[in-house]
Subunit: 482 residues, 2 copies
C-alpha cells in the first residue's frame, strides 16, 4: 500500500465475499450433521481467543478459519433442523441475502429524509402484511394507524406501554397508573414496565384459566377494585400465543373491557401472529380489532432473520407524541411538512438499519403461498408428533397443544421429565427447552425451523421413545391436563 | 417441487448469493458516481411498489432488478464518498461480510447458554477495545464492570439512565429525582428520560460555555439549588464530542461533582470515542475514569456497520439489577451458577444478533494500525479543508473545529449560509447537513466516510468556492467564533 493513505479498498471484496458466501453455504448445508448444542464450560471460548487485538492486518481466510476452529464449536445452532427449543428463529436464504444487501447499502433510515426508500419500502411491506394476515384496517396508514419494524417484541411492548402511559398521564400521576397482564405474559411486560418507570406493584397479574389464558372476569374485577381504590387502569397486555404454552387470551372479552375502561390494549402475538397468513388459522387474531397496538415477529416463524418485529398502532400520533424529540440538526422540510413518516419517532433508538429489505426478499422469494405451505408443513409435523405422544401412554400434555408447540411431561412426574429432557438434549442431535406449568416441569417442543423435515421430527420421537422410562406404576398419580 | 412439502432449500443459495454479492460489489465500486441524495417527493417510491404482496414465488434476479429500478433511486447514499452530512456511518467490506456470516448463523445470544460463543466473543472484543482506546480498567469484567454491544448510543443512554434511577430510588421517589445535561447533549437524553418515566422538568439543562461545552460551575450551582429545594440529583450525561459541534464537556470537573454528590455519570462519546484508538487523541476521554458508564459507536467512525454501540459500565450489577427479569423458560444451570454473562440483562430487548462478529472481522482485517491510519487520514483531510475555509475570507467557524467535524457559516449571515447549503446539496455530488449554534445557521461537514479520499474533499471545496457568494460589505457584521 506504500504511501497510499487509503485503508478501505474494494479490491478484496469480491474474493473475500466469495469465501464468506461459500462458508455460509457450507454451514447451511452441514446443519443436519451438526451437534445442536455445544459442549463447553463458561470461559472456554474466551480462553481460546487472544487477549489483545491484532496491531497488523490479518488475512480474511485466517479469520474464517478461526470461525471454524473457535467460534462454531461454541455455538448453539438455532438453525439446525433438530432445534426445537425456545421458539423457532427461522432464517432463510433470501433473508440472509437481504441482510447482506442491507449491510452493503448501510443507509440509515432514522428520518424519511435520511433515505426515503428505506422508510417507504418498510411502510409498503407492512401494509402488505396487514392484508396477508387479515389484520384490521385500523392499522393502515390511510386510517391514522401504521406499522414499523422494531428489533423485538420487547421493544414493541415498551413503546406501546410508553404511549399508553403518556395518554393516561393527561389525567393522573404516574404512581396512580396500573397495568395488567397474566403471569404467562412475556417477561418483556415486567421489564418494559420497570424501564418505563412503573413500580413493581403497579403491574397487576391477572389470573389465568385452566388453559393458561387470561380470565376476563378476573380482569374486570381487578380493574373495578383498582378504580375504587383510586388507581387509574391504563394498559392491558393480552397475548395471542404465550411463550410458555401458546395460550390465547380472549381478545374480544379483554378488548371490550379495555374499551369500556379507556385502557390501551396491546396484543403480543410474537410467535403465533405469523400463522394468520393461513386463512384457516385466523382465529389467532380473533378480537384484535379492539387493540390499540399489535406486534408479531417474522423473525420467529416467517423465515426472516432476527431482528424483525412488525409493530402496528391504531393511532400513530399517540405513539409519536410519546417518542418524538427533534433537535435542530435533524429538522428538515419533509418532516416539517407533516407529509412523511419519520420512523425515529416510532422506536427507542435514533438510527435504524434497512430491515424491510430482508422481509421484502422473503415475501417475494416464497410468495404468500410458499409461506402458507411452509407453516402448514410444520403443523402437520407437529400433529404427527402429538399423536405419537398421546398414543404412547408415558406422556401427558401440560397445556392444550396449539399451533407448532407441544408442552408435555412424563407421567411419572417432574424428576422423570427433567431427566428425560437432559438425556435427550445430551445426545446433541436435538434441543428441547422447558417451562413450568401449574407446578409441572414441562418439556417444550416448538416445530418451526426453516430446515426441519419429517425425518428430524421422527428422530426426535425415536430419542424420546428410547430415553423415556416406562410409565410403570405411577400413571395414575398424574392427571393429564390436555 | 411437486409433493415435496419443503419450501426452504439451499439449492439456489450459492447462485443467488453470488448475484447478491456481485450486486453489492458493483454498488460499492459505483459509489463515486452516484447522486448522494435522491430527487424524490414523499410517496414516490411507495407508488412504484405493488399494493399487494405476491402470491407466488418470484425469481431472485427480478428482486435485484427492482432494487436497482425502484429502491436505489430513492436512497440517500450514506456510504458515498461525498457524504459529509450528520455523522460518518462508516461501513467497510469486512464488516459487510461479518453481517453476512452473522445472518447465516442466525443464532440468538440472549443468554450465555443460548449460544455461548456469541456472548464470549463479544466479551473478548469489548475487552480488546478497553485496551485499544486506553479506557480505564474499571470497565473490565475482571473488575466488576464490563462491556456490551447495544444497537445505538440512544439505547445505551436509556440503560444507564434506568440503572441510575433504580439506584437512586432506594432513597427517594421518582418525582424527586433530577437529571442533568446541556442543551447540546444528544436528543436521546430527553427521549430516554421520557421513556424512563421522568417528567420534562426533571431534566435540567446545564448552560454551556462559549465552546458549547458544559459549564461545570453552573452544574454545581444547579445541583446545590436542587438539593436545597428537596430534589435528589441522580444522573449527569456528559458528552465527549457533541453531535452539533463536537464539543467536549470537562469530564474531570463534571466527574468530581458527580462523585461528591453521588450522581451517576454517563459519558456519551458516540462519535468521538473511536479517536482514542490513536494515542495522540486520547484527550477525548480525559476524566472518563470518573464515569459510571460510557458509550461509543464503532458504527460511526470505526468502519463497522450500524448497529454497533459499545457500552461499558463500572458496576455491572447496577445495570443488571435494573434490567433483569428471568422467567422460568429461560432459567438454566449456567445462569444460576452466576459464572456467566447473560446479555439479555444488559439491554432493552430480549433477543440479540451476533453483532460481535462484524467488529471482530473489522479489527482483524485492518488491525489497530490500519484503523489508526484510517482516522489520521480523515483528520488530515479535515485539516486541509479547514485551512481553505479559514484562508478564504467568506467563511467563519461557528464552533472550534475538532476532530473530523467543521461547523461553519457564510460571513454574511444565516440567509447566505442556508442558501449555500441548499445549492451545494442540490448538486447531489456531496451532502452536508446543518445545525444552529448560538443562533447562527451552521453548515456541518463531517469527514469520516470509509470511501472518502482527498479528491472528494477537493471537490467539496470547489463546490463551496464556486457557490458561495462574496463576503461583500457584510464581513464586519459577524464576528467569527472559532
Amino acid at each position: 500500500m506504500g504511501d497510499d493513505p487509503r485503508v478501505v479498498t474494494s479490491s478484496g471484496f469480491r474474493s473475500d465475499g466469495a469465501s464468506a458466501l461459500e462458508w455460509v453455504a457450507d454451514y447451511l448445508e452441514g446443519l443436519d450433521q451438526v451437534a445442536v448444542s455445544p459442549s463447553v464450560a463458561p470461559g472456554d471460548i474466551a480462553a481460546r481467543l487472544p487477549a489483545h487485538a491484532p496491531e497488523e492486518p490479518e488475512p480474511f481466510d485466517t479469520i474464517l478459519a478461526d470461525l471454524d476452529r473457535i467460534v462454531v464449536p461454541g455455538l448453539t445452532h438455532w438453525q439446525a433442523p433438530g432445534f426445537f427449543a425456545y421458539f423457532p428463529a427461522s432464517s432463510s436464504p433470501p433473508s440472509v441475502l437481504g441482510e447482506l444487501v442491507s449491510a452493503g447499502l448501510a443507509v440509515n433510515g432514522m428520518l424519511w429524509s435520511t433515505s426515503p426508500a428505506c422508510t417507504e419500502l418498510e411502510m409498503v411491506v407492512l401494509e402488505w402484511l396487514v392484508e396477508l394476515l387479515g389484520l384490521p384496517d385500523q392499522f393502515r396508514f390511510a386510517n391514522g394507524g401504521g406499522g414499523v419494524i422494531e428489533d423485538s417484541a420487547s421493544s414493541a411492548t415498551l413503546c406501546a406501554l410508553v404511549a399508553a402511559r403518556e395518554r393516561a398521564l393527561r389525567g393522573a400521576t404516574l404512581d396512580r397508573l396500573t397495568l395488567y397482564g397474566t403471569s404467562e405474559a412475556h417477561s418483556s411486560l415486567p421489564k418494559g414496565a420497570k424501564i418505563a418507570g412503573f413500580a413493581h406493584d403497579q403491574l397487576r397479574r391477572v389470573p389465568v384459566l385452566d388453559d393458561f389464558s387470561m380470565d376476563p372476569s378476573a380482569l374486570s374485577r381487578m380493574v373495578a377494585d383498582d378504580r375504587a381504590a383510586g388507581f387509574v387502569p391504563c394498559f392491558v397486555l393480552a397475548t395471542s400465543g404465550t411463550t410458555s404454552s401458546m395460550a390465547f387470551d380472549p381478545l374480544e372479552q379483554v378488548g371490550a373491557i379495555c374499551r369500556e375502561e379507556g385502557m390501551w390494549l396491546h396484543v403480543d402475538a410474537a410467535m403465533a401472529g405469523s400463522a394468520a397468513i393461513c386463512p384457516e388459522l385466523r382465529a389467532v387474531h380473533q378480537g384484535v380489532e379492539l387493540a390499540d397496538s399489535y406486534a408479531f415477529n417474522p423473525h420467529k416463524w416467517l423465515l426472516t432473520n432476527f431482528d424483525c418485529t412488525c409493530f402496528y398502532v391504531r393511532d400513530r400520533n399517540a405513539l409519536t407524541d410519546a417518542l418524538s424529540v427533534t433537535p435542530e440538526y435533524l429538522r428538515n422540510a419533509a418532516t416539517a411538512s407533516g407529509s412523511v413518516v419519520d420512523y425515529r419517532d416510532w422506536q427507542v433508538p435514533l438510527g435504524r438499519r434497512f430491515r424491510a429489505l430482508k422481509l421484502w426478499f422473503v415475501l417475494r422469494t416464497y410468495g404468500a403461498e410458499g409461506l402458507r405451505r411452509h407453516l402448514r408443513h410444520h403443523l402437520s409435523l407437529t400433529e404427527k408428533l402429538r399423536e405419537r405422544l398421546e398414543a404412547d401412554g408415558r406422556f401427558s400434555f401440560c397445556a392444550p397443544p396449539a399451533l407448532d408447540l407441544l408442552c408435555f411431561a412424563h407421567v411419572t412426574g417432574n424428576a422423570a421429565t427433567e431427566r428425560l429432557l437432559r438425556d435427550v438434549n445430551d445426545t446433541r442431535r436435538v434441543l428441547l427447552s422447558h417451562t413450568v406449568l401449574a407446578g409441572r416441569y414441562t418439556i417444550r417442543c416448538a416445530v418451526g425451523g426453516a430446515w426441519t423435515e419429517e425425518r428430524h421430527v421422527d428422530e426426535l420421537w425415536e430419542l424420546l421413545d428410547r430415553l423415556a422410562p416406562p410409565a410403570a406404576t405411577a400413571v395414575a398419580q398424574v392427571a393429564p391436563v390436555g
